[in-house]
Structure formats: structure tokens, C-alpha cells
Amino acid sequence: MAVQNESLLWQAIKEYFESRVATIGLILLAVIVSVALLAPYISPQNPYDLMSIDIMDSKLAPGSKSMDEAVTYVLGTDSQGRDMLSSILYGLRISLGVGVVSTIIALIIGSIIGLWAAYRGGKTDAFIMRTVDLQLSFPAILVALILLAILGKGIDKIILALVIVQWAYYARAIRSNVLVERNKEYVEAAKCLALPQRRIMFGHVLPNCTPELIVISTVKVAGAIALEATLSFLGLGMPITKPSLGLLIANGFKYLQSGYYWISVYPGVALLVLIVCINLVGDRLRDVLNPRLKR
């Protein structure tokens, strides 16, 4: 009689790859992330180095050569003469970085608060949850708008805004997860063994919340990236010196009508692919991990 001896993790991984679409998404995502990380090394030009750009090369169509015939601008140049490919690589780096960092911070803060609420219970819990509900009922963009209007531009301010917008989500997810798990039998069993609270929480309950957290945060990273792009596009987020994909798109917006589409479109495509891949992976993870939870 064949017994399923493989570990649950391996099973989950195998099941993940059963979907062709999700596998492609994961591969693409890996490519994008590596490219973004390696941007300074692999991009043909450093778009922030004012010495390396030539205003004479501005608004060149994709595939054109530079004035001095030295480089070919594979994706064209923008209005300042910067190579689009390099700008996109750097932009990816920033977009991805901001999204991931803000998600991680929000995850940590939100989880701590959520855990605390779940364990203190009573008035503390009620108060925290009211705040969470309030925060969640406000549109993210409004909150971010207010914050950035007050704080101004800057990479740290955007990360702060993104964290403030996201923490409540994690707090609520962790808290409800903990409450559900706490009622399950294995916690009763652990309590009967007189294990200390902290041990039960971190050693037993938290690991069971992990699959769901993974799924949520993956999808939220995409959301954070999209939100940052939107804010940058509106002129509220990243400063000109460190453009994320959103800002790049904004810069090219005014040239759309005149036909210089590549200044906006290519960064847009990059953003699109990034977000879609993350969402594909996240969706697939959810399909794979959730039935496991229910078992």
C-alpha cells in the first residue's frame, strides 16, 4: 500500500509546478529579480551619472544609435537623452526594492500588533481592531495621498506611507489566524503540557499561520509596487534623482501624443510584467497552500 511519505513542503512545491502558467510566472519573476539586483553591473549606462548622458541623444527611437555611433539604444532614449533600457533596469530595482521593503516592514509591524491584540484580548484587542478596521476602510490611495502631501517626496517617506497603508492588513490577518489556531486542539494539548505562552505562540501557532502569510505578502508586494507606481506617477513619491518605474512613466506621459511612445510604454511594460508575475505566483501559492491548511 503506497503511503505518502514525502514531506508536505515537497508536495506543495511539486503541486505548484503543475501549472504551466504559474511556472512561467515564477521563472520570469526570478529573471526580473536577478536583473534588478544586478542592474548596476549589467545596464549599458548609468542613467544617474550626468556625465554619461548626452542631451543630443534625446528622444531617439528604439534601435537608434547615439550621436557618436558608440552605443545603440535598444529601447530608445528619453527626453534627457538617457538610455531607456538602463533607466528601466534601475527603475525596476527601485520599484521592486521599495515594494519588498515596505511589505516586509509592514508585515513585521502588523504581525506584532496583531499577535499582541490576539493574546491580550479584551479591551486592548477591541481597541486595536477598531483602529485596524478604520484604517482598512479608508482607501489606500487617500491615506497615502494625505501622508505624502504632508511629508513631501523621498524614498523613505514613500516607504513610510506604504507601511502605514499596509500594516493593518497583516495585523488583522495574523490576529484572526491566531484566534483560529488557538482554538484548535493542538494548542490545548500544548497547554496541557504546561508549555510557556511564548513557546506555544512562536513554536506552534505561528508556523501554522505561515502559509497564509506567505500568500498574503506575495500578493501585497504587487499591490505595494502598484501603489508606489501610482503615487510616483502623480508626482508624489520618488524624487527625480531616483526614479521608479512609475516616475519614468510619468515623465513620458506628455510625449505620448507626439508619438514618442517608448518613453512611457516600455517602463509600463516592465511594470506590468513585474506585477503580473508576482500576482500569478501569489495566486498559485494560494491555490497550493490553502487546501493544505484545511486538511
Binding site: F138, L145, I150, L234, L256, V265, L272, I275, V276
Partner: protein
């Protein structure tokens, strides 16, 4: 029921108050307002006089109360840019935003819910799968990017639809609306569809999940055991069960739509509140920013309240209470 209403209204009032404090502190305290209002080359005497005139020398809490009193009377001060009461300017632009938001909502409900239901029933074949793929796209793509693409395709490339601005308006119920004229509609379609994209995808996903969940339930099996046709089962039994949660979520999202109109209005140069605010943030026209924030938050809270009440009316279990 009455107790519930009173409780909710009180809560909302508290939230509004807290918001007003936050907004006030944020906008008038952080970042020195004085520097905006007074020319940088003013002499110390002019400076002092301006400070006194604008009441900026009073203690913070006093400034807040002055502000609050003014706000309750609808007076947010004059816009630095337009030199007219901020509230009046915002209210002028409100109908445009509302038109956009409601059109988008309409699309989300009447397109999204049926599509989602179809996806839920036909989840195994290509129709269902493609609807879901479309919804993933609509959900994850940043609205502004889609708007950009729409402009490129429909405006620049195909030349079918205008790329921005609002078309001719006609008078309707005391407001200027554009959907009553064909030309006006052409200007409305792109931005409304853009704004609706996210919500429609949401509606699709919710309806689909609702349908799938309900199809598993015993009452569906019982309905089939009675010999009812599939049309009736889906069209009445399941539909009524998913309507309630879907409509409540979408209703709450209306506030979101109004806020998100900021992006669409910017892209399509739609003359609504959102665009005004973005421009105002750029020039630090604080009265407008404050007025916008408080108006939006108020609308938001009212919408949420209405939706809450609606939910308790629609769900017979909540409305009639459990007799057992």
C-alpha cells in the same frame, strides 16, 4: 434598529472629529504655512502683521478650534490660488467626479457580477478561465498604466475617442452631467472604464467565489431534488445569496472609487475634485487640500453607514432576528 443607527452615527462623528484633528495638524502645523502665505522678501513688520492677521500666532489648539468652527460652517478659508472659498471650488468640481465614480460603479455591478457568475458556473471551461484571467489583469494592473494604454490605443492610434477632458454637459437635476449627450458620452467612456476596471475585476472575483461556495451548499442540492431548473437555481436561489455580500463590498468600495478618481482624472484631464487636489498639492494650496480631505472623508463615512444599514435590511436573518 434605532440603537444600532445611533451607535453607528456616534462612531462616525467621532471618526470625523479625529480625522479633522489629524488633517489640521498635518496640513497646518507640519510644514510651515507661514512661508507659503507670505512673500519671502517681506519685511519683519509685514511678516508680524501677516502672522497676526492669519491668526498664526495663536496657540495650536486655539487655531484648531477656529478652524473647526469655520469648518462646521463650511468655511475652510480661501484657496491660495483661486482666492475663492475653498469649499465652493471643491463643490463645483464634485459633480464631475461623482459622475465618473457612479458610472464606474454601474459598470462594475452590471458587467462584473454577471461575468463573475458565469465564471463560477463554467469554471472548468475556457470561458470561465478567461474571465478569471481577465479579472486577474484588471485587479493587478495599476489603473494609471491601463489608462495610458487606453489613450495610446483608442485615442492616438485608432482615433476613436478623445484622450482627455470632459465633453459638453447638459443640465440634469441641477447638475451638469455629460452622459446625456452622445458627444459627452465619448468623453466619459474611457475614464469611466479605466476607473471601473479594478472594481469590475473585484466584482467578478467576488461573484465567482460566491457562486462556487453556494453551489456546494445543501440548499442547492435540495433545490435540485425538487426538480428545479438550473436557471432558477442560479438566477434566484444562488443570486440572492451572493448579492448581499457582493453589493455590500461594492458599496463600501464606492468611497474608494471617489478617492481613486484622483488617478483617472489626472490621466484623462477630467475636471473633477481629484485633479484639483493633485494640482493643489503641487502648489501647496492648503485650504483646498483640507477641504478635499474632509469632504471625502465625510462622504466616505456616510457611504459606509448607508451600506451598513442596507446590509441589515437586505439580509432577512439580520432584519427579522432569530426567533429561536
Amino acid at each position: 434598529m434605532l440603537a444600532f443607527l445611533i451607535r453607528r452615527i456616534t462612531q462616525s462623528a467621532v471618526v470625523l472629529l479625529v480625522m479633522s484633528v489629524l488633517v489640521f495638524v498635518g496640513v497646518f502645523y507640519i510644514g510651515n504655512p507661514i512661508d507659503i502665505l507670505i512673500a519671502p522678501d517681506a519685511s519683519p513688520a509685514e511678516y508680524a502683521r501677516a502672522v497676526r492677521d492669519l491668526g498664526l500666532d495663536k496657540p495650536l489648539w486655539e487655531q484648531y478650534f477656529i478652524f473647526l468652527k469655520g469648518a462646521l460652517h463650511g468655511n475652510f478659508g480661501n484657496s491660495f490660488v483661486y482666492n475663492e472659498p475653498a469649499l465652493k471650488i471643491i463643490l463645483n468640481r464634485l459633480p464631475a467626479t461623482l459622475e465618473l465614480a457612479f458610472t464606474a460603479m454601474f459598470m462594475a455591478v452590471f458587467l462584473g457580477i454577471p461575468l463573475g457568475m458565469v465564471a463560477g458556473i463554467q469554471h472548468d471551461n475556457w470561458i470561465g478561465r478567461n474571465i478569471m484571467r481577465f479579472s486577474i489583469l484588471g485587479f493587478s494592473l495599476p489603473t494609471f498604466w491601463v489608462g495610458l494604454m487606453m489613450i495610446i490605443v483608442f485615442s492616438v492610434h485608432l482615433g476613436w475617442l478623445p484622450s482627455g477632458g470632459r465633453g459638453p454637459t447638459t443640465e440634469f437635476l441641477g447638475m451638469q452631467v455629460s452622459f446625456l449627450s452622445w458627444k459627452g458620452l465619448t468623453y466619459l467612456i474611457l475614464p469611466a472604464t479605466n476607473l471601473a476596471l479594478f472594481k469590475t475585476s473585484l466584482a467578478i472575483r467576488l461573484s465567482r467565489a460566491g457562486v462556487q461556495e453556494n453551489l456546494q451548499m445543501d440548499y442547492v442540492k435540495f433545490a435540485r431534488a425538487k426538480g428545479l431548473s438550473n436557471t432558477r437555481i442560479i438566477g434566484l436561489h444562488v443570486m440572492k445569496n451572493i448579492m448581499i455580500p457582493v453589493i455590500t463590498v461594492l458599496g463600501m468600495e464606492l468611497g474608494n472609487l471617489i478617492a481613486f478618481a484622483v488617478v483617472t482624472e489626472t490621466i484623462f484631464a477630467w475636471p473633477g475634485m481629484g485633479k484639483l487636489v493633485i494640482d493643489s498639492i503641487g502648489v501647496l494650496d492648503r485650504p483646498i487640500i483640507v477641504a478635499y480631505l474632509l469632504i471625502t472623508v465625510t462622504m466616505f463615512i456616510i457611504i459606509n453607514l448607508i451600506v451598513d444599514v442596507l446590509y441589515s435590511i437586505l439580509d432577512p436573518r439580520v432584519r427579522l432576528g432569530d426567533e429561536r
